[in-house]
Symmetry: C2
Subunit: 139 residues, 2 copies
């Protein structure tokens, strides 16, 4: 049975592949008690150092109210801290702890593995092309 690809094909293909990526990463992260969205929050906090929760939501395309509960989970697990912002007492800056950094090192490998599996049929060149095109989609 061939795959059915409806018109509006690309949106469908993106959604299906994205869903698969998320499910696979969730499965890989299960032993850590984390899910893919925790990983993206942890990763962005580490790589962009000290984002506010609002910034995290913006950058990751996640609703602010969802960021709160994701950071709650990560804080409870000791992987991030909420620090106060020097200039604005409303704002809370999310900082990755040492434990968080260590967890991130491990889970990053898992995320790479999930990507590798998904992209198994593509050459290195094709992977770069795909990534470049995805980065240029309308945001």
């Amino acid at each position: 049975m061939p795959h059915a690809v409806p018109s509006g094909r690309v949106g469908f293909l993106l959604a299906r592949a994205g869903g698969r990526a998320i499910r696979n990463l969730n499965r890989a992260l299960e032993p850590f008690g984390l899910r893919s969205r925790h990983y993206t929050v942890l990763s962005a906090s580490a790589e962009q150092g000290g984002l506010s929760q609002r910034e995290l939501g913006e950058v990751l395309g996640v609703d602010p109210s969802a960021v709160v509960s994701l950071v709650d989970d990560l804080e409870r697990a000791g992987l991030v801290r909420r620090d106060s912002h020097p200039d604005d007492r409303r704002t809370r800056v999310v900082v990755v702890t040492e434990a968080g950094r260590s967890t991130l090192d491990t889970t990053r490998e898992l995320a790479r593995g999930v990507d590798d599996e998904l992209l198994a049929g593509l050459s290195e060149d094709e992977r770069r092309t795909l990534e470049r095109l995805l980065l240029r989609l309308a945001s």
Copy 2:
């Protein structure tokens, strides 16, 4: 603020773009009382003519129990029928009605429009490349 793209980058980009595509299509379909998953079921049923519900689920990557309620909705709206299978009395074949075909003609244009908007930044060549690469991702 640049976009944060964690390692496991491609999976993240796919999920974000796919989510956007689904949300946009849901919004476009709202006047029809349909959502994107109804559209994919309707589209696959029309283009592959008379699939069983199990086949629909397989082809679209949707859980069988979800197919039931999607087909329920479409049947209630008069867009598909459940016919009996000639050789297997367990199986129910999903057939698009005339009304369904007409709705599909209209909604297909909406789906194309959503794709167009998402792909606005890419040339025709780049769009074809993207689609071709997406079709080759691990299923």
